[in-house]
């Protein structure tokens, strides 16, 4: 597939994630939208990885060019998992204190 297709797709997903962050007030949904953004990045990385692979595989069929993109995705997943554990812990902590997951509910810190 032409790489542009993937780029467009991933950017679209990424921006949908951003719009979600901007438009929702539920902390969990906001967090999920951030995960969506990460996934868009992941897909784009894999696509790029295959693109770079395709570029160099012609010269050397045994090349592992492009593999770093996929490994990066792996690390992103690791980080995302860690983030989720911490993030959900924080959200639960907040819920325990306020019985709300509305990000605008807590509004003591401003100005």
């Amino acid at each position: 597939m032409p790489i542009q297709y993937y780029i467009f797709l991933c950017l679209t997903l990424f921006c949908i994630g951003i719009v979600g962050v901007l438009t929702r007030r539920n902390a969990i949904i906001v967090f999920m939208c951030i995960e969506l953004m990460l996934n868009a990045v992941n897909l784009l990385l894999v696509a790029f990885s295959k693109m770079h692979h395709a570029a160099s595989v012609g010269n050397n069929p045994a090349t592992t060019a492009g593999i770093e993109g996929q490994l990066f995705v792996f690390f992103i997943m690791v980080v995302a998992a860690a983030e989720v554990s911490v993030g959900l812990a924080i959200i639960v902590m907040m819920y325990r204190n306020t019985h709300s997951v509305d990000i605008n509910f807590l509004n003591r810190l401003k100005n």
Partner: protein, 166 residues
């Protein structure tokens, strides 16, 4: 149009549609489910790209572990459609517009990026996505970052404990 193209379009449409539905669903549980659908679509893409390892991991880690965690939390809190107050309409509009602007900006950039022209992602071929190759790279060239992620996990673990402790 070959199968791969059809599949690509189908998965793309599915991903985008599901992603939009994540935003639009009033009920958080539905959102989670739609998001899982997105993850599935993306996993499908991975398969198309012959990134088998990631496809599996994505399903297991994301769709499986992470999203289930989300579901648990949501259910634990007993959230439903009514619990989320709605954002002001102007705020929503502003969010959509600015997100849209960013998208248009990025896309126009990519369209002008001539060096991307003609480049293709290798579909269903190439073996770098195989577990064997990935594993080899991970434990040779990438062993340091791999070890370092353990620190990340440790800290996340300690953090979760600190937060969770009474």
């Amino acid at each position: 149009m070959g199968t791969i193209q059809i599949l690509f379009y189908f998965l793309s449409a599915l991903a985008i549609f599901s992603a939009i539905m994540v935003l639009l669903s009033r009920n958080p549980v539905h959102s989670v489910l739609w998001l899982i659908a997105v993850f599935f679509a993306i996993s499908g893409h991975y398969v198309l790209l012959n990134a088998q390892f990631l496809a599996i991991v994505n399903l297991i880690v994301y769709a499986g572990a992470i999203m289930v965690l989300f579901l648990f939390v949501i259910m634990l809190m007993n959230l439903n459609a009514e619990t989320e107050p709605r954002k002001h309409i102007w705020m929503k509009l502003a969010g959509v517009v600015s997100g849209g602007c960013l998208l248009m900006m990025l896309i126009s950039l990519v369209r002008q990026a001539v060096e991307m022209g003609g480049k293709k992602a290798m579909m269903a071929e190439g073996n770098i996505g195989l577990i064997k190759n990935l594993g080899h790279a991970l434990f040779s060239d990438y062993v340091v970052p791999f070890e370092i992620t353990s620190v990340l996990f440790l800290s996340a673990m300690v953090g979760a404990v600190v937060i969770g402790k009474k």
